[in-house]
């Protein structure tokens, strides 16, 4: 028998049920696949390592092969993946390991196109890390190939598969938030973004994010994920992008700004701001959606809603879990609230049980397993990537750039 407090009992019987009635399919639980899914990984840097760790948590997924141009990294990843074969050439990997059903691409952004196209040509399902590419031409080439294949092509804009973000989006699109007033996103981390290398060639390759010729900088590598969330929530595409960038801390010869501000300008005066910096860590990473009835703050594994005093009461929020933020009190957004409340574990639901990357990969292999569309397909990935490319250009030039609608179409 469950030991429910009165508060949790009421929440489970009335409030959270009401919430669930408008919020289907928001499971925060582990993915269960019907059959085994054999995958390969291309790109064994830091993101590749994180992917190996998350794939290990998904039941019925087997990582058969890993591939990286750097042989040492490929071999190290093979060991981490507990027996996966390691390669330095994707075509050799696809030729030799026939059982691969899906390929995950985690190479540097400017090196996505070739392995994605090779995997699609080999008839494999593909998960491409976001942003899709560093140029509109490359992004469109990937999206066009995806449109011409029957296999699944997913793009790693993680917000779309994140249970907290899905839950918050349903609130955002309901009367709970109402008219969007403004959108803000921040990402701050004190870091050089520089990787050491033992020789000049390796160092240059490792520091592609600091290379003006191929890097989208902070607007692309960080901001693009927030831009995608903003566009997904509003179902809108910005008409213009303004950018400003400066080197405020790391004057070490780099040409990429370490501190940026971008404005995405939508129709009817709606704006989304993005602030990013490599010079300070305070506040970390979040998105904030301000609406006429409430604000929603999202922090990747956590989400909160801050109601306006004049917003209509919906009943269930009276019993919800709350957290204090300076002068405001936020309602904690908990996916699977009904189930957790019925088990007397509502408070355990604060914070997701898995990382955002886990849910993105789970969504992809789940789509492969069930033959359904992924949370972020190539067409959606293209739109957010094009905006990120424009934001990177605007930031580099301290200018305003109008979005060309033709760039968004496949």
């Amino acid at each position: 028998m469950f030991d429910l407090s009165r508060r949790e009992f009421v929440a489970s019987s009335a409030g959270a049920l009401a919430a669930m009635a408008i919020l289907p399919d928001l499971s925060r639980a582990a993915t269960m696949l019907a059959g085994p899914v054999n995958v390969a990984l291309v790109g064994c840097g830091r993101q590749g390592r994180a992917i190996i760790a998350e794939l290990a948590k998904i039941e019925n997924v087997k990582l058969l092969a890993v591939c990286d141009l750097d042989q040492a990294r490929s071999e190290a990843a093979g060991k981490r993946a507990q027996g996966a074969q390691s390669f330095t050439d994707i075509k050799a990997m696809l030729d030799k390991v026939k059982d691969i059903a899906a390929v995950i691409i985690a190479t540097p952004t400017h090196l996505h196109k070739e392995p994605v196209l090779a995997a699609i040509a080999a008839g494999k399902h593909v998960y491409c890390e976001a942003p899709m590419a560093h140029t509109v031409a490359d992004a469109k080439a990937i999206a066009t190939a995806a449109a011409g294949t029957k296999t699944i092509v997913a793009v790693g804009f993680e917000g779309r598969s994140n249970p907290v973000y899905k839950l918050a989006r349903s609130f955002f699109r309901s009367d709970a938030v109402r008219e969007a007033i403004a959108i803000e996103s921040k990402q701050f981390q004190k870091t050089t973004w520089r990787f050491p290398g033992n020789d000049p060639a390796r160092e240059a390759a490792a520091n592609w994010r600091l290379d003006k010729a191929v890097s989208l900088g902070l607007p692309g590598e960080w901001g693009s994920h927030a831009f995608d969330v903003g566009m997904w929530y509003t179902d809108r595409i910005p008409q213009k992008v303004r950018g400003f960038g400066a080197i405020r801390l790391h004057a070490d010869g780099r040409a990429i700004a370490d501190t940026v501000h971008c404005d995405l300008i939508f129709a009817e005066g709606l704006r989304m701001q993005f602030d990013g910096s490599l010079g300070n860590s305070y506040e970390g990473r979040y998105e904030l959606f301000r609406g006429a009835n409430a604000a929603i703050k999202l922090g990747w594994t956590h989400g909160w809603m801050f109601k306006e005093a004049d917003a209509p009461t919906q009943g269930w929020e009276v019993y919800a879990n709350r957290q204090q933020f300076h002068n405001d009190e936020g309602i904690t957004l908990i996916a699977d609230a009904t189930k957790l409340a019925s088990q007397g574990k509502l408070k355990d639901g604060v914070g997701l049980p898995y990382s955002s990357l886990y849910y993105a990969l789970s969504d992809f292999v789940g789509a492969v397993d069930a033959g359904k569309a992924p949370a972020c397909d190539a067409a959606a990935g293209l739109r957010s990537t094009v905006i990120a490319i424009a934001a990177a250009q605007a930031t580099a030039e301290n200018s305003e750039i109008a979005i060309n609608p033709a760039d968004l179409k496949i």
Partner: protein, 326 residues
């Protein structure tokens, strides 16, 4: 030139001091190593619902849980440490629960012994506190070495230390080369410490772990074998009969592995006789090179395969000498 870098992880400050003539390269190298520490912080935190440890504490009761190869290796080491220390080191916190590992499937589960009394052996969940720091520092040191670093010192919260190489000797015949770490109760006590009351340990490509009762009267460390509160020597002296004194006030262990130094320092804090005798009887990779405990009469060396240990009266070299305040 020495450069210092830091990050906050595992509820303490981690620092890296490394020698390099290129500050840009040094920053990039240190950042890569600190990222490794932060990665392990995210995997091992009990306060992050998405961490591996939180996931195990939620699910590993009900079914075997898959973990990645690196996490599996750490858990296998924990299991080995528990076995070798007779349960004195026990991240599960109770002998009533066993960590079952399946290397073929890469899964982990918790098994409660059928005959265990749940009231005498309370279960608080997997806690990778100290060994997590040692493991993360060891991995960070590996990152530094891969980048060609030959001289560096890393520590987490001053109680877990890993040294890479040794600073240049300064024509002092009394001192063998090494990063010289002075161990004491706190900074104020260290400043006034006399010979025998503090310990200076030179580290050269080695790890040091220091465990202590943090000075609380009566102690706050629980023996995982019995669930009983342990009375450390220093805090118990003068208030309880000598026969009731069970544990050391502080233990210090030097080992080639950061994780193993944590395992042994935890075990020796609870039982100064925990080390197998002779220590070489233990599995060679687990054998520490130096171990000491501090009791009412000061430091007592209980195992030493080194020749470089020096007393605290040695000349102070502040730019090369760190302190471990536990």
């Amino acid at each position: 030139m020495l450069h210092c870098f830091a990050t906050q992880a595992m509820a303490c400050r981690f620092e890296i001091v490394l020698e390099s003539g290129n500050p840009v390269w040094a920053a990039a190298v240190a950042e890569d190593a600190l990222a490794e520490i932060c990665l392990w912080d995210r995997k091992l935190s009990r306060y992050d619902s998405a961490s591996d440890v939180s996931r195990l504490n939620r699910d590993a009761w009900q079914r075997p849980v898959r973990v990645d190869g690196e996490m599996f290796a750490l858990l296998a080491l924990c299991r080995q440490g528990t076995d070798l220390t007779g349960g004195l080191f026990c991240p599960l916190g109770t002998p009533a629960v066993t960590l079952e590992l399946d290397p073929i499937a890469g899964t982990v589960c918790f098994v409660r012994h059928a005959d265990a009394d749940p009231t005498s052996s309370p279960w608080h969940g997997l806690n990778m506190g100290a060994i997590g720091k040692g493991w993360a520092l060891e991995r960070a040191a590996t990152v530094l070495r891969q980048h060609g670093v030959t001289c560096a010192l890393l520590h987490g919260g001053t109680s877990s230390v890993v040294a890479i190489g040794a600073p240049q000797p300064q024509n002092d015949p009394d001192h063998a080369p090494g990063w010289r770490i002075r161990i004491g109760e706190d900074a104020a006590a260290l400043a006034e410490a006399t010979a025998g009351e503090s310990l200076v340990i030179p580290l050269n490509d080695e790890s040091l772990s220091v465990s202590a009762h943090h000075g609380r009267s009566g102690g706050h460390v629980i023996d995982p074998r019995s669930g009983e509160l342990i009375r450390p020597v220093a805090s118990a002296a003068g208030t309880v009969p000598e026969s009731q004194v069970q544990a050391a006030a502080t233990s210090a262990v030097v080992h080639s592995s950061g994780a193993w130094s944590e395992i042994w320092s935890t075990a020796l804090l609870l039982d100064p006789q925990a080390l197998p005798s002779p220590p070489a009887a233990a599995l060679p990779p687990a054998d520490p090179s130096f171990a000491a405990v501090r009791a009412a009469g000061g430091w007592r060396t209980i195992h030493d395969r080194r020749v470089r240990l020096t007393p605290s009266s040695a000349t102070h070299r502040p730019h090369l000498e760190g302190s471990s305040n536990v």
